[in-house]
């Protein structure tokens, strides 16, 4: 498949092992010069050509927003998943050519906040690396609470503690000293904005605690890089393009649409941003909504689907694409 016009051709300048499961990749623009500017919390979508399969996975940009000669991402290897992280870990080497999207920020700093309370779980640390550079430079108060399994498994905690001192608190689950979310939230000054990035259950737990303590929705921000769920293969009809597309078990609906050379919008590829919202023209079966975007009413109405993470089960699905 052709590289999308808006993607940027890059060369892998460096692959650095950070922990047994995490590698850091540095990309430099093939054309030389500078890459597009980004702000703290932004991500890029990395295109992976694995034989005939094209995967596009989002990763937080974790370099400094001031240094645009390269982009840096960290990838945690997840076995038994759709294979994007395994591809990055096992196949991508320094010198390879790849393509990345211009940066998108769905986890931006709240400039009206009086304090940023940042909660990271494991590889969820990545968006905070660039956020903290920007917060620190802007002299905005922040506090990072970083939950890791043990000293060897948490990427970057030593560097961050060195850089920001007591503003970085590390909570080690194996030591039995996990993070007491309620005790932490109850003492935050008015005007604090909470940012959480980590596994789904962590985000849900933190949100439930915050809501129970009377935190308003406007002050809660999260980012989950949810991989599209796998599931039974199915067919989909794209009405405007007059195409019938097969969606494989380990492929997302969006990936299958792209593989059929049909242009579909997207930003986060994780069911959060709403950009890929697509009209359902006919559905003889059941839509499997895996996103965090559509409301309960919209799901019940069954006229919209988020192809980046959602699937279908049944006889026929016709989309407005």
């Amino acid at each position: 498949m052709a590289v999308r016009p808006q993607s940027i051709k890059v060369r892998v300048a460096e692959v650095v092992p950070v922990t047994p499961l995490v590698k850091r990749f540095r990309f430099v623009p093939l054309a030389g010069g500078l890459l597009p500017a980004f702000s703290g919390g932004a991500h890029t979508v990395v295109e992976m050509h694995d034989g005939a399969v094209v995967r596009r996975n989002p990763y937080s940009l974790m370099g400094s927003p001031d240094e645009l000669d390269s982009y840096q991402i960290s990838v945690r290897k997840v076995e038994d998943s759709r294979g994007g992280s395994v591809f990055m870990h096992e196949r991508v080497k320094a010198g390879d050519e790849m393509a990345v999207s211009p940066p998108v920020n769905l986890f931006a700093i709240a400039w009206d906040a009086r304090k940023h309370l940042l909660l990271a779980g494991g590889i969820g640390i990545t968006p905070f690396v660039s956020q903290m550079i920007q917060l620190d430079r802007s002299e905005m108060p922040f506090e990072l609470h970083y939950c890791i399994r043990n000293d060897d498994r948490g990427p970057y905690w030593r560097d961050l503690q060195q850089r920001y001192g007591r503003r970085v608190q590390v909570h080690r689950a194996e030591s039995g000293l996990g993070m007491d979310v309620e005790a932490l939230l109850v003492m935050q000054p008015l005007g604090t904005h909470l940012f959480v990035c980590g596994p789904g259950p962590m985000i849900e737990g933190v949100y439930a605690t915050a809501r129970g303590l009377g935190w308003p929705e406007e002050n809660l921000h999260s980012e989950r890089f949810q991989a599209p769920a796998t599931g039974a293969a199915f067919d989909v009809v794209l009405r405007r393009s007059s195409k019938r597309v097969h969606v494989g078990t380990h492929e997302s609906l969006l990936e299958a649409i792209e593989a059929a050379d049909v242009e579909a919008p997207y930003l986060c590829r994780g069911g959060a941003c709403g950009q890929c919202e697509t009209g359902v023209l006919a559905c003889d079966g059941r839509l499997i909504h895996n996103d965090h975007y559509l409301s309960a009413e919209e799901r019940a109405a069954g006229r919209k689907i988020m192809p980046c993470v959602s699937r279908f089960e049944g006889r026929e699905l016709v989309l407005d694409l």
Binding site: D112, R114, K115, L190, T192, L213, G214, P216, E217, N219
Partner: protein, 201 residues
């Protein structure tokens, strides 16, 4: 004459107690007291025990709303003669507050506008404030030319209290200033004004 559908025009709701909140701050004026009292059936005693009230009676003082607010059994209940003189107390409460504090604004638009503006200084976004409009529709108007504020405007066209230009009062609202915008209406033909009507009673 009045351009409608302007998005900055604030939309107000109906007060309801936030039972998750660990601290409540109520700022009300005039008839706004009735919106606070209307929460009574939905609010348990414990809710009032963690609630501070600041009230500006203004012209509705003879109706004795303040005494009814005092009878709610709130943590504190304070009366101020004007909106401006109530703000230091509101700021003191917000300055000491932690996350989990709910702000309620009830009464006139100038009160709610000032309450929102001050709340913004403490990092509270306007979306998370509970509001209810009661009483007068009179507007606080900022002259876009000299930036002066004209208070208690009830007509569609008003002379600016500062520079004297005839201003058309628009629905265009500034949250930062807490006022509607007034734009000179007779710039091209001075003195030729459309009919002046009392539209914000």
């Amino acid at each position: 004459m009045l351009v409608s559908g302007i998005k900055s025009r604030p939309v107000y709701g109906t007060l309801a107690p936030n039972e998750q909140a660990r601290l409540n701050i109520v700022f009300a004026d005039g008839e706004g007291a009735l919106a606070v009292l209307a929460m009574k059936p939905a609010a348990p005693t414990a809710f009032w025990a963690r609630t501070h009230v600041i009230y500006v009676a203004g012209g509705s003082a003879p109706q004795g709303h303040f005494a009814k607010l005092q009878a709610l059994g709130t943590h504190s209940c304070h009366e101020a003669p004007t909106i401006a003189s109530a703000l230091p107390r509101l700021k003191a409460l917000l300055g000491a507050a932690r996350m989990g504090t709910q702000l309620y604004l009830a009464g006139t638009e100038p009160l709610m506008g000032e309450g929102m503006r001050v709340a913004g200084e403490y990092g509270i976004r306007h979306q998370s404030i509970r509001t209810e409009h009661r009483g007068s529709l009179a507007r606080r108007v900022q002259c876009v030319h000299c930036k002066g504020i004209t208070e208690s405007v009830t007509t569609n066209i008003v002379p600016c209290a500062h520079c004297g230009l005839h201003l058309l009062v628009r629905d265009h609202y500034s949250r930062r200033v807490g006022a509607f915008q007034g734009v000179n209406i007779d710039a091209e033909a001075p003195g030729q004004l459309p009919k002046v009507e009392e539209v914000f009673k």
